[in-house]
Subunit: 251 residues, 2 copies
């Protein structure tokens, strides 16, 4: 029986989603919790293999389980065995046998949170990128609009990126102020490695007035990683949702 899980986690203490030899991963934490409940050694596969330190409020994963159970029992039991790790199953539901969290996904949504003020982050420490000066949100959003669409995103691609092509379609990149923070919302069918954090690093240069929005078009056209801004830190990034052709609950 295939199950789909909706997951939230604090990426701060993990080396990322993916299981590794000598470092804690979100994947291993969930696999261990599922084994404690079912006695089965399972493979839990996620829609997005988030990097070290990156959070999720809407990660989706799937696994196959021989044990007979219900969605609420699976959710509650895995949460019980996950304690005290900062990972939670928000929902579990039966999935079609051919559902694959990664390959069936039609879209990923990310949010990046920046706290732009002189005083350091306190209550949001580890949850935001702290930038000690006020950002020009309007300029950042104007720059962001120049990046939307189908482009060669080589300028925003990590050297280690394993994608076959640097051409992606960015469906949404929106910058807005939310109280004392600046939120950047990004959506695409899929992203290159570090693409969101590299986009944010470039928008940050616009936000502090180092670049004008128009320059960002030249950065994109350069197709050269060195033309763009640095990679923004992981602690501000959240995988907020994954979209599938079939709405949640109908598969």
């Amino acid at each position: 029986m295939r199950w789909r899980l909706l997951l939230e986690y604090d990426g701060g203490g993990f080396a990322g989603w993916q299981r590794q030899e000598n470092a804690p991963s979100v994947q291993a934490a969930i696999e261990v919790a599922v084994r404690a409940f079912s006695g089965e050694t399972v493979l839990v596969q996620a829609a997005g293999r988030t990097d070290a330190g990156v959070h999720a409020t809407g990660q989706v994963a799937h696994l196959d389980l021989a044990k007979q159970t219900t969605a609420t029992t699976l959710r509650d039991a895995v949460n019980h065995h996950l304690k005290p790790q900062p990972v939670a199953v928000l929902a579990a539901e039966p999935a079609a046998a051919d559902f694959h969290a990664r390959f069936s996904a039609r879209g990923r949504r990310y949010r990046y949170r920046i706290l732009d003020r002189r005083a350091p982050a306190v209550l949001q420490r580890g949850r935001v990128w702290w930038v000690p000066r006020s950002l020009d949100v309007e300029a950042m959003n104007a720059a962001a609009q120049r990046l939307i669409g189908r482009h060669d995103f080589t300028s925003f691609r990590a050297a280690a990126c394993q994608a076959a092509s640097p051409i992606k379609t960015l469906d949404r990149l929106e910058v807005r102020r939310v109280e004392s923070e600046v939120w950047i919302e990004a959506a695409a069918r899929s992203f290159l490695h570090h693409q969101v954090r590299n986009l944010v690093g470039t928008l940050h240069f616009v936000g502090v007035g180092k670049w004008v929005p128009e320059q960002v078009s030249a950065v994109l056209a350069a197709r050269d990683r060195r033309a763009a801004g640095p990679t923004a830190p992981p602690e501000g990034l959240y995988l907020t949702g994954v979209d599938y052709d079939l709405p949640v609950g109908s598969s």
Copy 2:
């Protein structure tokens, strides 16, 4: 020279605002940081002496400093010396010689955050009261409206409360859903000890259907602490603001 400070802190690691012999306090953390900057042993007095574990996003305090400095230098220097403690000075400004953070205050505002879902708190751990079932926000808000106004709040007063009278005027008590959380906003000139948390403990009983909103009027009329619900935990409570007759910056 008297200074007014606007403060944010994570109360989780502190025994409360007030300086104590053998436990960390927010007050001592700030006094130590001010001394590191100025060489002066100062008394920092706050508008609200928050309890152990209670947070603040808008605490106000004052102190007297002989050293000549500017508002931005004071803010940045104290923040520098506060590191790595989870306390920050959001703003510093000169205050009138007769300004007193506590006695000049004309109003206090608090927010209480509840995460009401089956899955435990992860990204909001230590920042909310986690309640593992969905709350009836409409019923809670209806109950809250019955508590607004000038009343004898003995039913919601901690045994240790040192206030001269249990009669207070509750100006605002509002319950609303904010995404996956329930927020309770409370405002009054002043509150009794544990009053907000005791009000929340009672509204929680309404939210889970144990009490109907009408019963809350009887709880209030009982003037007996045993008639009300239990004290809600500290980690959901935030002192969000303090109001003065003179707007900030004009004193």
